[in-house]
């Protein structure tokens, strides 16, 4: 009969985003032992940072939360958060992977999220992990912490230990699935965006966090500059992407992401004008094109085909000028916006890891895992493999999961 319960083989999944979570669950449910390693302090990856997801307009958090709970409760899955891979060596057909688990000054198993340390800390080093962390806990930023020890005294459960150090763990695994996802890349090398010149020029993930219903503004659309309501918002697509100076590829998710954000702005504040500057409005997927049609027609979101050549704060610092050519009408214009959201600067996270000199998977010229090159990089899913939305990431995660299993069965 089928080897459902396989005690001899362990698998490592690097990255606890949606692709990693689903791959881990699939492997565990078919009887495999899985290690799930994530560099962040809690699982969920980038989806956890989203307020809403397209095309259903549901909260991102609920379905993710049920799957995170399943991962945390599954006896075959060992989760290592705040952990980084430091070394990979090969022995007897297995990989010995060394991970360094950062000191979690607040033990999340003991933190009851009462918030006393947060109130007590005079340096402002303690803050909540993130809105939806499961279970919720606090986090101490070691770079700000003054080691005063006030939090240790006030913690009722003794969860805080300022002297914790990083631990090294060595795992022996058969195969590694890379599901490391993406990071936002710094756009300041591109002069046209004037990054840092005005607080209301922000990237789309910053905007998502700023306007999140569970965030500090409770879904309010206000300006970072002075807390007032903006009159209009510009969403700039392909910022840093499809650009030979930075990321030559298309990040695939940003068109729909911008439409979703603009639509939620309209839903909450119908008087704010939203304008999307696009190159090709790539709405490939079930309901995506209809979603864009419905929202753009229905709520009066303006679409302009063109890539702004310059974005700069106006001398009064009140608002931001966007200089662009509408390539469908061939008209050049300068428009005044209160907020500018930059979309597209998503880079696979593995680029940075491999740059640091650790042995890692083979990457192609754009930083995505090249699964054809060698054995270590054969299995990957999500944004590490190719720009992908939630559904595609999950599919690739599952597909990588069955491929690692059948590879092991075939080897025998």
């Amino acid at each position: 009969m089928m080897p459902y319960h396989d005690e001899d083989n362990q698998y490592l999944i690097v990255g606890g985003g949606v692709a990693g979570i689903i791959a881990a669950l699939d492997l565990a449910e078919t009887g495999r032992d899985v290690y799930l390693v994530d560099k962040a302090a809690s699982l969920g990856g980038q989806v956890a940072k989203l307020d809403k997801i397209y095309p259903t307009d549901h909260c991102a958090f609920c379905p993710l939360w049920t799957d995170i709970k399943k991962v945390q409760n599954h006896y075959r899955i060992t989760v290592h958060t705040s952990s980084k891979l430091t070394d990979i060596t090969e022995e007897n057909g297995k990989y010995a992977v060394t991970i360094s688990k950062e000191p979690t000054i607040i033990d999340e198993n003991l933190c009851i999220y009462c918030g006393r340390c947060f109130q007590k800390c005079s340096a402002g080093a303690v803050r909540p992990l993130w809105e939806h962390a499961s279970p919720p806990s606090h986090f101490i930023d070691a770079s700000i912490c003054t080691d005063c020890g006030d939090c240790v005294d006030i913690c009722p459960t003794g969860a805080i230990d300022l002297n914790r150090t990083a631990v090294e763990i060595v795992l022996s695994v058969n195969d590694i699935i890379w599901a490391t996802g993406f990071n936002e890349i710094d756009l300041s090398p591109l002069p046209e965006f004037c990054i840092g010149s005005h607080p209301d020029i922000m990237t789309s993930l910053e905007f998502e966090k700023w306007t999140a219903e569970a965030g500090r503004n409770k879904g309010g659309i206000i300006r970072k500059l002075n807390g007032t309501a903006p009159q209009n918002i510009a969403f700039i697509q392909c910022a840093g992407a499809r650009d030979q100076r930075m990321l030559p590829y298309c990040s695939a998710v940003c068109c729909m992401h911008a439409i979703k954000q603009a639509q939620w702005v309209k839903r909450r504040e119908p008087n704010i004008d939203c304008c999307i500057f696009y190159t090709d409005l790539r709405t490939v997927g079930r309901d995506y094109y209809e979603y864009s049609l419905r929202d753009i027609k229905g709520s009066g979101i303006k679409l302009i085909r063109g890539r702004p050549g310059l974005i700069y704060p106006l001398p009064d610092r009140e608002s931001i000028a966007v200089k662009y050519e509408n390539t469908l009408t061939q008209v050049r214009e300068i428009a005044r916006f209160d907020m500018v959201v930059l979309n597209g600067n998503l880079q696979p996270s593995l680029v940075r890891t491999v740059e640091k000199g650790m042995r890692g998977p083979s990457l192609d010229s754009e930083g995505f895992v090249d699964t054809t090159r060698d054995d270590l990089s054969r299995f990957a899913g999500g944004f590490a493999l190719e720009p992908a939305d939630i559904a595609d990431s999950v599919i690739q995660g599952s597909s990588a999961a069955i491929n690692v299993v059948t590879k092991t069965i075939y080897k025998r």
Partner: protein
């Protein structure tokens, strides 16, 4: 209420700073007759839970009401600890006294205490009156049926066979390969499809675990997860199988642009598929070829983007260019849909080869000039704002994929949802291949138009999902849910009072209710299939006389809870 134990967590003062536990204790023991009430400093962190559990065991009570933090914080951990100690999950009820009570009413301790008491009263009423669903367990048949032997179906069947599962692979036509075998090369690697398909076909031939049924037609599907019964005909022979899971990979069809862009009227206006056939025969000679995108897509009737047409046109344009370097090749598009890294690179490659891309507006589509042969194509170039006349001798219309006609039939048999066009619909983006029926998975272009590469990874992913259904050799109805431990049981009928009106059958979204005739009489009673029931409660709300009940949330317990909250 003597058998209910109330556990209250102080949470190191987080709860009892606001809610005075002494008053709560007095009210509960005096007015509600609670004999055992235990207050602990913290239920989630080590120290107290052991003493609490020994106290519970001493008191002899059976049901436990926990007043602690929200299930989103550590409430579920507390419940899990109690379950680990041998208390039945359905006898535990969690009341959120921290996030939903003490914290948000910090400025009003009296109100918070009253709310806490109301919440506890509701919990007590719930625990007292709730009933329990009777369970049923079934064995999972260790076989999978895959419908369709295209790239998705082949990948699914092969992955399962390698995994060790017996697969029944049903194919409508006489040979496997699906739409891929009609195509000359596949993007983005530009490899011949025959070479691409070969390893799959070879392995299907070789392995004994895959049983291939060509020319098959499904006649009926009955049953539920783990125990489907499928009757089908293959090569005019009628067969029956009992798979434990079903994977739908039946693919899609290509839209024929009859009447659009003078298709059928001028000889050299052809579809993408006809071009593929010409490539296979090796007789494509064109001085100048024009591809027109979005023919019959992103329009009123089919307002969707079919995903694969832009890369397919780019692939074929490059092939024409490769065959004849002097050929002029134009792609007239409404936005080039090549998302991601691989396809964007593919698009750049086409640009560097000299393929010309012209963007047109939806409202001013290209016009084909000429009487019997194509003379030219006139198009308003939206980027330059000029009307261009392109001399051409071959026009290729890129048409979208449309759902198979028999999807409705299949969906009806399996009780699956189709989207507004007729493609199979998934339950949620986080679970993109799962349908609302457990044990039935969708992949490939039957779900949504995809390239062959994506179809293969979807097939593999669907195989993984099917394997995770099969890996539990025996399941019980109560544990069979996507979120283990969170199913609320299943609906129950009292046959004596059921009038057989059929309202419940009509509203059940999971096809779990059937009317059954009583032996020797002309009356009917409804019957619930416990494996199919998802405890949504629709049937309960339409039952005219309260015969249909959710035992865990029956009328009595719900009414009592409302009474306690507002009475």
């Amino acid at each position: 209420m003597s058998d209910i134990i109330v556990l209250l967590c102080r949470c190191f003062g987080e709860i009892d700073q606001t809610i005075d536990f002494e008053i709560v204790r007095e009210k509960l023991t005096k007015d509600r007759g609670i004999s055992s009430l235990i207050c602990a400093d913290s239920l989630c962190i080590g120290r107290d839970i052991d003493t609490v559990i020994s106290q519970i065991k001493e008191s002899g009570g059976r049901k436990v009401l926990v007043g602690a933090c929200s299930v989103l914080a550590r409430g579920d951990q507390v419940v899990q600890k109690l379950v680990d100690e041998g208390i039945v999950r359905s006898d535990i009820h969690l009341v959120d006294l921290r996030e939903g009570c003490a914290w948000i009413h910090q400025d009003n301790p009296d109100g918070a205490r009253q709310k806490a008491l109301n919440l506890i009263d509701m919990g007590l009423a719930f625990l007292e009156h709730k009933d329990e669903s009777d369970d049923v367990s079934v064995k999972i048949n260790q076989e999978v049926m895959v419908v369709g032997a295209g790239p998705a179906g082949l990948a699914a069947a092969l992955s399962l066979a390698r995994f060790g599962v017996t697969v029944h692979l049903l194919e409508r036509s006489s040979t496997p390969g699906g739409m891929l075998k009609l195509i000359s090369r596949s993007y983005p690697k530009d490899d011949a499809t025959s070479i691409r398909l070969k390893p799959y076909l070879d392995e299907v031939e070789k392995t004994s675990r895959i049983r291939m049924y060509p020319q098959s037609k499904i006649l009926s599907i009955k049953g539920y997860t783990g125990n489907f019964t499928v009757r089908f005909s293959s090569e005019e022979e009628e067969l029956s199988i009992s798979p434990g899971a079903i994977i739908i990979a039946s693919g899609a069809m290509v839209f024929l642009p009859n009447g659009l862009f003078r298709y059928g009227e001028i000889q050299n206006v052809i579809t993408q598929m006809e071009l593929e056939t010409r490539f296979k025969k090796g007789n494509v000679t064109a001085r100048s070829a024009v591809f027109i995108q979005c023919v019959g897509a992103r329009c009123e009737e089919r307002p969707y983007c079919s995903t694969i047409c832009c890369p397919a046109s780019i692939k074929n344009a490059m092939q024409i260019k490769d065959d004849n370097r002097d050929a002029e090749v134009f792609i007239l598009h409404r936005g080039v849909m090549t998302p991601g890294s691989v396809l964007e690179r593919y698009y750049r490659k086409a640009l560097s080869k000299g393929i010309q891309f012209v963007r047109f507006d939806k409202d001013s589509p290209p016009v084909i000039k000429g009487d019997e042969d194509i003379e030219s194509v006139e198009v308003y170039d939206a980027i330059t704002g000029l009307t261009r006349t392109i001399e051409s001798d071959l026009v290729i219309l890129s048409t979208p994929l449309i759902p198979n006609h028999d999807n409705h039939h299949l969906a009806e048999m399996l009780d699956l949802q189709l989207d507004q066009y007729g493609f199979f619909r998934e339950i949620y983006p986080m679970h993109p291949l799962e349908t609302r029926m457990d044990g039935i998975f969708i992949c490939g272009s039957a779900r949504w138009p995809v390239s062959s590469g994506q179809a293969i990874s979807q097939g593999e992913a669907a195989a993984m999902k099917a394997a995770s259904v099969l890996c539990r050799e025996e399941v019980t109805a109560s544990t069979f849910s996507r979120v283990p431990g969170l199913k609320f049981g299943h609906a129950r009928v009292t046959p004596d009072s059921c009038t057989g009106c059929g309202n419940c059958m009509a509203v059940c979204p999971f096809d779990a209710i059937r009317l059954q005739r009583i032996d020797g009489k002309y009356t009917y009673v409804s019957r619930v299939n416990k494996m199919r029931c998802k405890a949504c409660g629709n049937c309960v709300s339409v039952c005219p006389n309260g015969t249909m009940q959710m035992p865990e949330h029956n009328y009595l317990s719900v009414c009592e809870m409302i009474e306690k909250a507002f009475g």
